[in-house]
């Protein structure tokens, strides 16, 4: 279907996690293949997009919303994760606090987010094994308890970064297809991300 038409399926993806865990670094590594240890801190959120091709030739276009990590910006987060089909919750494996924060994000997503959202639980900074505080087993067990998929990455060395997005991409269309099956023959090629949710904002134009 969409694969033959070579039309990209567009998905909204949101990056969540504590400040300084490497959300922007992961996104930049994925989108541009670069790493910069001093990326500017994200204020509010920033936007990037990248397309991946699945083995079955399906094109998946990610609209990536990279959010600010500081607690203060928490109130903005719902604007970004509402209507997102995928979320990457990141913690820093050298920082226990960020792990706890990541768990809170998972809880919030489970309560407030789309029930079908694909959530990746990501431990970043594996290039610093000597400073590790969170063992892989700990992240893994939390992820499996909550039905998430778990992966450890390094935005610095690019380890597992594209794997992370590929894994998400592989999970996405299946969910989409399931939706199509349950909700009848609606057109599958149309992007679910962009204009679909919350059309009816009163607005001022009248």
């Amino acid at each position: 279907m969409a694969g033959q038409m070579r039309k990209a399926l567009t998905y909204k993806l949101v990056l969540l996690g504590d400040a300084g865990v490497g959300k922007t670094a992961i996104a930049v590594q994925f989108v541009k293949g670069q790493f910069n240890p001093f990326l500017e801190s994200t204020i509010g959120a920033s936007f990037m997009n990248q397309t991946v091709t699945l083995p079955d030739e399906t094109l998946i276009k990610f609209q990536i919303w990279d959010t600010a990590g500081q607690e203060r910006f928490h109130s903005l987060a719902p604007m970004y994760y509402r209507g997102a089909q995928a979320a990457i919750v990141v913690y820093d494996i050298t920082n226990r606090n960020s792990f706890e924060k990541a768990k809170e994000w998972i809880k919030e997503l489970q309560q407030q987010g789309d029930p079908n959202v694909v959530v990746a639980f990501v431990g970043n900074k594996v290039d610093m094994p000597e400073a590790r505080k969170i063992q892989p087993s700990e992240g893994e067990s939390y992820a499996s308890e909550n039905g998430l998929f778990f992966i450890e990455t390094s935005a610095k060395t690019a380890e597992n970064v594209s794997e992370l997005f590929m894994k998400i991409a592989k999970q996405l269309p299946s969910i989409q297809r399931q939706k199509d099956i349950t909700s009848g023959p609606s057109n599958p090629g149309v992007k679910p991300g962009v204009g679909a949710p919350s059309k009816g904002k009163g607005g001022c134009c009248g």
């Binding site: 910069n36 801190s41 609209q63 600010a68």
Partner: protein
């Protein structure tokens, strides 16, 4: 003198570089058969004696030389005689005969390189000049575009062309007509990308046509002519592109020079304004010049003067909060250590050792009561190196690192109800680029006390939402077409969060941002809203046509900003503090709704 002919690395590279010869470019001369005379064994030995290899570093030097010289026969011979008096005239004659392959009495760059290679060879080793060049150095078909590229290490092949890496190709297009047999050689100055044969080329790349692979039959004359025409077309396109780029660069430089001159002229006036402040504040001339932005040397002082110190911040207050910040930090560090000991992360012995020190500090810790957001200090340290990282002055070893840290830490202790919020580091950094530590703190405190900043740095959901709704109504009013498009694309105005919380200093080039700051100090925070609308107006045509990603890219990256055009767009937006006052009403209205909405919940939780 003669060193121009022999770049330092020439000797060693000529002798040693053959190992790095790629593919077919070895010293062999058995490549093509041709219609050339059969070489005697002596000739062969002369040829085998030579490493037919040119070092790319030499090429770089030679390219410069080539650009600066007249490569016609007489002029070249005269120049070579002056440079290398050791070489006899007839030797030079032989070298010329070998080098001027197409016999057009002028050297292309390729031919020029051969000549220099041979001159070096004779001069350095006192050896004979070979009677001929190896086949790889010769065009094997009369009409074939000639290139020696395959011989040179450091070349990257791309599709049908061969691209010299930028560092080995300081060529220029100016000479392209002179070397028609040299195919396409080009160089750009900017970072733009153009396409040749569908291959993306970075400006600065140098293109030399690839030699025709030997397994392919020779081209017909028609085909060859067609290719030559195509090459000419590409060359012309390239030339045009480079000319445009050059023009653009010149135009920018001109604009900058005009601006600098204007600033220099204005400086005197601003110094007089500072001396007589605030008498001249409301003069029409002041306002007119204010719009052009402050000269950098008076900017800090003007900011300090024009923002009234409503909060009565004194130097003592700054010192006190600075000290308070340090003691809080120490206490927090001690507490952290204590927690770590309790957690039992460290080994048994170390734990014992630490307990002793911790017990000593325990008394102190209980004295510091932290009720506010003082713990956000940790985040300051995370953000310092990430603030204007390209400037490298706020990083741990940078000259302004401690100043920025002091200002922000003192602010956190001064307003623990707000604490440090990401974005503040940018505002404080811009202030420190223009002011000393204390005035920067004073201006920061008063600036962040403005209604708009209070809303954003507090980040209360209802208030921010109220602002977004209000801003949306403004976009609808001032730019209905843009508004329609944004609604259609379901783009919320969350992109303005970054603009407001850093006062554009992160999103816009710093000099343009500072000019916006100048105006904000004149007109008040309303100018930030006006500028946000101005930016939307600036991009309005593009926004109306762009897809979702394009719009998001524009609004988050603010590409291709032309300062004067942006300010022209801002000027057209009629928005002042009078309009801004409605904002306060809007905030109150929305918050009262929110209170009604959540009132019950608040009561319950109490």
């Amino acid at each position: 003198m003669s060193s121009t002919l022999r770049p330092p690395s020439t000797n060693s590279s000529l002798n040693s570089s053959s190992s790095s010869t790629p593919g077919n470019g070895s010293s062999g001369y058995h490549g093509d058969d041709g219609d050339r005379e059969v070489l005697s064994s002596e000739d062969l030995s002369v040829m085998e004696d030579i490493y037919w290899e040119i070092n790319p570093f030499d090429l770089v030097e030679w390219r410069k030389l080539f650009e600066s010289l007249d490569s016609r026969e007489a002029e070249f011979m005269l120049w070579a005689c002056q440079q290398e008096p050791v070489i006899r005239g007839e030797q030079l004659g032989c070298i010329w005969t070998l080098s001027d392959i197409d016999k057009d009495t002028s050297l292309s760059f390729d031919e020029f390189s051969i000549a220099l290679f041979l001159i070096n060879h004779v001069h350095n080793k006192g050896k004979k000049i070979p009677k001929s060049l190896p086949n790889e150095w010769l065009p094997t078909h009369q009409h074939r575009v000639y290139s020696r590229s395959a011989q040179f290490p450091g070349l990257v092949k791309k599709s049908r062309g061969v691209i010299l890496k930028p560092e080995t190709s300081p060529s220029s297009v100016n000479n392209s007509q002179r070397r028609q047999d040299d195919a396409i050689v080009a160089k750009g100055s900017g970072g733009s990308v153009f396409y040749i044969n569908g291959v993306p080329m970075q400006a600065g790349d140098c293109v030399v046509s690839a030699p025709r692979p030997s397994h392919l039959p020779p081209k017909t004359t028609e085909e060859n002519m067609k290719h030559m025409r195509e090459a000419e077309l590409i060359q012309a396109k390239l030339k045009k592109h480079l000319e445009q780029e050059e023009k653009e660069r010149e135009r920018r430089e001109e604009l900058k020079a005009i601006k600098d001159k204007k600033m220099q002229e204005n400086k005197k006036y601003w110094l007089s304004v500072i001396d007589t402040w605030p008498q001249k504040k409301s003069l029409p001339k002041t306002k007119l010049l204010w719009w052009q932005g402050f000269p950098p040397s008076v900017r800090g002082k003007m900011w300090e003067l024009s923002l009234s110190n409503d909060l009565n911040i004194t130097r003592d207050l700054f010192v006190i909060f600075g000290a308070h910040a340090r003691s809080t930090k120490d206490a927090r560090a001690a507490k952290k250590r204590q927690d770590r000991v309790k957690e039992g992360e460290t080994g048994e012995e170390i734990r014992e050792e630490k307990r002793v020190t911790v017990e000593g500090e325990e008394k102190e810790i209980t004295n510091v009561v932290v009720l506010g957001r003082e713990d956000t200090v940790d985040l300051i340290h995370l953000d310092l190196p990430r603030t204007f990282p390209a400037l490298s002055i706020f990083q741990p070893d940078g000259p302004c690192h401690n100043q920025l840290k002091d200002v922000l830490e003192a602010y956190v202790c001064y307003r623990p109800d707000i604490g440090y919020v990401q974005g503040m580091s940018y505002i404080a950094a811009v202030l420190l680029l223009n002011l000393d530590t204390f005035p920067a703190f004073k201006v920061l405190a008063n600036l962040l006390n403005k209604q708009l900043f209070r809303v954003f740095f507090k980040m209360a959901q209802d208030e921010v939402e109220a602002y977004m709704n209000w801003f949306d109504s403004l976009v609808c009013q001032y730019l209905p077409k843009v508004h329609k498009k944004l609604v259609q694309m379901d783009i919320k105005h969350t992109y303005t969060v970054d603009w407001i919380m850093t006062m554009f200093s992160k999103a816009l080039p710093i000099d343009i941002a500072m000019r916006i700051w100048d105006m904000s100090f004149l007109e008040g925070e309303s100018f930030i809203v006006r500028c946000s609308l101005g930016l939307l107006k600036y991009y309005s045509n593009k926004i109306e046509k762009a897809p979702f990603e394009g719009i998001m890219h524009m609004l988050t990256k603010l590409p291709e900003i032309e300062e004067e055009e942006l300010f022209a767009a801002i000027e057209k937006i009629d928005f002042t503090m009078v309009h801004m006052s409605k904002f306060v009403v809007a905030i109150r209205f929305w918050c009262s709704i929110a209170l009604r909405r959540y009132g019950d919940m608040i009561c319950l939780s109490l």
